[in-house]
């Protein structure tokens, strides 16, 4: 069985090229968005560790804490 019925019904090469370019652009931009997501995770972890470290240090060296007054 031939494929004569499909002659001339293929996608225009220009469209294929445009579609491929669009897919590449989409992939690149979505990759950048995912990079930003993971960057945020890293920064949150880093800042959280610093805050925890600070609070632990505060717990061990607490001479300066002024007791709250009773109103």
């Amino acid at each position: 069985m031939g494929q004569d019925d499909q002659v001339g019904k293929g996608q225009d090469p220009g469209e294929v090229k445009a579609g491929a370019a669009f897919d590449a652009l989409q992939a690149r931009d979505m990759r950048n968005e995912r990079r930003i997501f993971w960057s945020e995770v890293v920064v949150i972890v880093l800042v959280a560790l610093l805050v925890i470290g600070y609070l632990v240090a505060l717990h061990w060296f607490r001479p300066g804490i002024v007791p709250m007054p009773h109103l």
């Binding site: 652009l25 968005e33 930003i36 945020e40 995770v41 920064v43 880093l46 060296f61 007054p69």
Partner: protein
């Protein structure tokens, strides 16, 4: 009575933290844009796009903008540029005639004989001509100094494949070459205010403002909002953004679609530009007063998070002053409470500053390489020192550092530190005055680094509030551009 006053001042101190909490929360959401974004619903769509560019005495910048547009990657014949000359008195008409001859069929020259009414009127002249024909399927509103990267238009129009989308904006970057300290401050500000904040707003479902330098509308949307740009406020771009969303269309920012613009290179020019923006935001607040904090009727624009973000920016100096008054009031009533509140609140401010600065660097690494110092100095180095005092104080004893006062000098020092939010705002206004008085640039730069670019924006916002309360006139005070913007490495 004393107890009630102490609680009142404590609440004021907490109110002063609202902008810090709001921007911190906004930054925490940015990364979610990697999961919830519009890319999956965009498509390989290339509508016929009419660019409309208002020009008043733009001879220095127009040529470069037009040439940059000619290099965009978009199907030939699928876009046109309509430049509306607002009765320019410089060489703008000559530049336009030359460019129209150089790019026949792509560049169209429209001229208003009576000019000087402002950007919105000029835009409307062009939009009217564009909508009178059936050709355009989308309309891009841009500024004369804006340079489009080759793929920016493709990145923006792909979202219009989704018929729910009415408008798309781009990430506007500061492109002055060579850069200055001020231009790098602005560049860093745009990472936080655009690349970061608008990603969060995409996740929330809409934007407060599509930047007027690159504002793409579908034809249907532009017709739905009246076929014209608002001329009653100084923030025509924000007005269009609100109207679009109230008309039932969505708007979004594509953070990968980048345009470059030249921003002010003097504090006087910056003050003038931001005063216009600040006043415009307050006019928008009033024009849409029925929608704030009414989520059931107005969806995103009426929701609480959106309202808090909006007011924490529009009224930021009032929050800063409230916070300082709160801490000073506490200092006189219950000094230990003032010191504890200062330590906790400024400690949280430091965490927010650290997180936002590091994350901003990660969002736009290329810009961070150029403006890392301005990112660190954004709140002012003296503010960073105040944060450091808040962090160190609990270790050495708050009372040792800040009080109880052993002398009047100790007392003054303690109060300056407690009221630093308000003082830095006033000091930043002083930097503007010093610059305006003709002080050498090196002195202005040192003062700006010490007192901060953030407090300067806060001072301008206060001036905007004063101008609006005083019902200052609505004259469009244009920012003069010199044509030193370039498309820079990403």
């Amino acid at each position: 009575m004393t107890n009630a006053l102490a609680i009142f001042f404590l609440l004021l101190a907490l109110v002063g933290m609202v902008p810090t909490f709001a921007t911190f929360a906004q930054f925490l959401i940015v990364g979610l844009h990697g999961i919830w974004n519009h890319y999956s619903r965009s498509g390989a769509y290339t509508p016929r796009v009419a660019f409309v560019l208002p020009a008043w005495n733009e001879a220095d910048v127009l040529g470069a903008s037009i040439d940059a547009l000619m290099r965009i990657d978009y199907p030939a014949g699928a876009w046109r540029l309509y430049i509306v000359d607002d009765a320019s008195t410089d060489h703008t008409p000559d530049v336009l005639r030359a460019k129209a001859a150089q790019y026949p069929g792509s560049v169209f020259h429209l001229r208003r004989e009576k000019g000087g009414e402002g950007k919105a009127h000029t835009l409307n002249h062009g939009i009217k001509a564009i909508l009178a024909e059936d050709w355009a399927e989308a309309i891009m509103i841009m500024d004369a100094d804006v340079l489009f990267e080759p793929l920016t238009l493709r990145r923006m129009v792909r979202h219009l494949a989704d018929p729910r989308i009415g408008g798309v904006t781009a990430y506007v970057k500061e492109g002055s070459d060579p850069g200055t300290l001020l231009s790098r401050f602005i560049a860093f500000e745009y990472i936080t205010a655009q690349a970061a904040a608008r990603r969060t707003q995409n996740v929330m479902g809409g934007l407060p403002c599509m930047a007027g330098g690159a504002q793409l509308h579908s034809r249907d949307n532009l017709i739905a909002i009246g076929g014209a740009i608002d001329t009653s406020t100084l923030a025509e771009d924000t007005f269009s953004t609100f109207k679009t969303q109230l008309a039932g269309h969505r708007v979004l920012m594509d953070g990968n679609a980048i345009v470059w613009a030249e921003e002010p290179d003097s504090l006087a020019a910056l003050w003038k530009q931001r005063l216009r923006w600040g006043r415009g935001n307050l006019q928008i607040t009033r024009a849409f007063r029925e929608l704030w904090f009414r989520p059931r009727r107005y969806g995103l624009l009426g929701n609480w998070a959106f309202g808090i973000l909006w007011f924490s920016i529009a009224l930021v100096p009032l929050f800063m002053f409230a916070g300082s008054i709160g801490l000073i009031g506490l200092y006189y009533l219950w000094t230990p409470w003032a010191l504890a509140a200062f330590s906790i609140l400024w400690g949280i401010t430091f965490v927010s500053y650290l997180f936002q600065t590091l994350f901003s660097f990660a969002i736009d690494p290329a810009e961070a390489r150029r403006s890392w110092f301005e990112g660190i100095a954004f709140p002012g180095l003296l503010s960073v020192i105040v944060m450091a005092i808040a962090l160190v104080a609990p270790f050495v004893g708050l009372a040792h550092l800040l009080g109880p006062a052993r002398s009047s000098w100790d007392s003054i020092a303690a109060q300056v530190i407690l009221a630093w939010s308000a003082i830095s705002t006033v000091a930043a206004w002083g930097v503007y005055r010093v610059d305006k008085a003709g002080a050498p640039r090196w002195l202005r730069n040192i003062l700006l680094v010490l007192f901060g670019y953030g407090p300067l924006l806060c001072a301008i916002a206060f001036a905007a509030i004063v101008a609006e309360l005083g019902k200052a006139d609505l004259t469009w005070d244009k920012t003069i551009k010199s044509g030193k913007a370039r498309i820079q490495a990403r």
